[in-house]
Amino acid sequence: MRYVDEFRQPELISKAAEEIRRLAGTQRHYRMMEVCGGHTHAIYRFGLKDILPENIELIHGPGCPVCVLPMGRIDDGLSIAQNPDVIFAAFGDMMRVPGTQGSPLEHKARGMDVRIVYSPSDALKLARLNPGKHVMFFAIGFETTAPSTALVMMRAKAEGIRNFSVFCNHVTIIPAIRAILDSPDMRLDAFVGPGHVSTVIGCRPYEWIAKDAGKPIVISGFEPLDMLQSIVMLLRQLQRGEAKVENQYKRVVPWEGNSAALRAMGEVFQLRPYFEWRGLGFISQSALRVNEQYAAWDSEQRFAVPGIRVTDPKAAQCGEVLKGVLKPHQCKLFGRECTPEHPIGALMVSSEGSCAAYYNYEHRKAATETSLSSIS
């Protein structure tokens, strides 16, 4: 696969890992946060922790749009779809996330019309094909995904498609990073920046992280060589005492971002004054809602929504894991009450949630450390 395989070449990965070990030395402990859930998933999928030195600690950030969605919002979306004339359409990522009465898939098993879509365009297509029904697209994602939702809503408006609306849960990345840096328990040296969000917002929005918070940030791609190169770049900055924004993912990320995408977002959305992030609490100006011009395509305007706030069980430490204060296995419920089969929090359900990633890819590896090289 072009533009993928080149960045997975084993010899170059080994070389990059060697360079990291050389640069990292043994004296200093480095704490780097990868903000984006996609990077968390990549770290586990490619086994990058196995080849990084012990003194580089990768801390998983809150960039998982499924993980930070409060349970009440899932209940709200599902309550709209209780109406037999409504089709609940969402990405696969949402299908097993538990609401208080079960997940979308569980509702489907009980007779709700729930469809998995790959693209918001597919949700609009469902609306065209089912004129007697209303398609509610349960939209999630950061700025990577929001422009596509916006464009589809613009198309719905242009075509006069009335049986389609969006339940908007899009969130923005910068306030989340700010919340992390504002957190008193957080000690971080640097950030691995979200590569795909940056194809939309560009690299400028991160400049305050370097200038004001004094932390280096490298906007990174998602292949193993991308992430390793980003770590090399961060180590070099840290060792020179620098703090700036660098773009490792140049082949895809334009410094100025994607103007057409930003325009589409501006056309359809506006910032909510505040939004609750599961585990992080209320953050102002951190989420999008559909604006007045598109009210006819806003599920929250078309339908009455219970809007009940659901608090997480006290014992669940999703918030601390999301902020990187705790590692997944340090949560008291990890692997016991909370497993991928019976997830308590979304971090265990979402494939890029750190708990699910740790559980699925990692936690039984401890015993293998000594024996990977021997057959006995």
Partner: protein, 346 residues
């Protein structure tokens, strides 16, 4: 397994789709509800087929239901799956498939032409596999109560001498063999459903694996420890089950796992792992190191065996788990999924 008292460990209040997906939830249902109440005297662990002795002859018997949507897809249809699926379960249990009986649950309103096409497909597959379909049953339910048709096949075959399939016989150092590329069937079905709007020139790999199993047994019978056909849940599920059953670790070499480019591309696009995708024409075999070369040579020469690969080996650690390793030293645990693999965008 104790005949008394039956300990039901399955606590879910109702059945969900995940319970039929072949992953963790399925296993909990079978082990926690069916096994304690029904499988008195059944071997633990549970295998693809049950082996009974009838007047001195060892016979394998197995049954499988086929619930697939759409009914037809590139490379096959429910009829072929119904025959090959049961034939393969017999084959990987070390039996020569002999005869099948077929049970159909048909939805009222099903076009006769559709039914006829499936019956023809079953006949064709049976001929190709060298088995006889000797009888069956048909029921019709109201419109809306069955997705056009559900097919169940029950098959019987004589256990081949010189091979015993037993997870307990697996040892550290054994080699893990895979007959060919994984993911073809599951991705074909996913694309054929049309919901995701992707197209690819992919076909289901449905076929009888008996000729390959027979070649393997002939060349390396005494060294064959265990076999399974990785259907729903994929190779990851089968190997996880083996790892749990024998208490050893399955260590796979990622660069040696055969996957077609298109399957890889579809999996990358949808965020899926080929190891979790269903196959209908492949099998896994664990073979002792002394017989591994003979096994590989025989399979490579057998019809349909040209893509066989050694994909890993059994080790003490990680006990009970499957570990995939890369050439650059990275590794990851591959667990069974809870339910069906779902596409993701994050």
């Amino acid at each position: 397994m104790p005949a008394h008292p039956a300990t039901i460990r399955f606590r879910d209040p109702q059945i969900e789709m995940a319970h039929g997906a072949g992953g963790k939830a399925s296993r909990r249902l079978v082990e926690g509800l069916f096994a304690p109440l029904l499988f008195d005297g059944a071997p633990t662990p549970l295998n693809d087929a049950a082996c009974v002795e009838l007047s001195g002859t060892r016979v394998a018997i197995t049954t499988d239901s086929f619930v697939v949507k759409p009914l037809t897809f590139p490379g096959g249809s429910i009829g072929e799956l119904a025959v090959n699926g049961t034939v393969n379960d017999l084959a990987v249990s070390g039996a020569r498939p002999e005869a099948l009986v077929v049970s159909c649950v048909l939805e009222a309103g099903l076009a006769t032409a559709v039914l006829e096409a499936e019956i023809r497909a079953m006949a064709k597959a049976a001929r190709a596999a060298g088995v006889r379909i000797m009888g069956g049953d048909t029921k019709v339910v109201e419109h809306g109560k069955a997705d056009q048709m559900y097919v169940t096949t029950t098959g019987v075959g004589g256990l081949m001498p010189g091979v015993t399939v037993d997870a307990q016989s697996v040892r550290a150092g054994d080699k893990i063999l895979l007959s060919g590329p994984i993911g073809d069937h599951g991705i074909t079905i996913l694309l054929a459903r049309g919901e995701l709007d992707f197209e690819a020139d992919l076909r289901s790999d449905t076929r009888s694996v008996f000729p390959l199993v027979e070649a393997l047994v002939r060349a390396a019978g005494p060294g064959v420890r265990w076999m399974r056909d990785p259907t729903r849940g994929g190779a990851a599920t089968s190997l996880n089950e083996l790892a749990r059953d024998c208490g050893l670790g399955m260590v796979l070499f990622e660069d040696q796992i055969p996957v077609r480019d298109m399957v890889r591309g579809a999996c990358e696009l949808l965020g899926l792992d080929p190891l979790h995708i269903a196959n209908e024409g492949q099998f896994l075999a664990v073979v002792s190191p002394e017989y591994a070369d003979a096994a590989m040579n025989a399979l490579a020469l057998a019809p349909g065996g040209s893509e066989v690969q050694v994909i890993g080996e059994v080790r003490k650690q990680p006990a009970g788990s499957v570990l995939v390793t890369t050439l650059y030293g990275g590794s990851r645990i591959v667990d069974m999924l809870v339910g069906d693999p779902l596409p993701r965008i994050c």
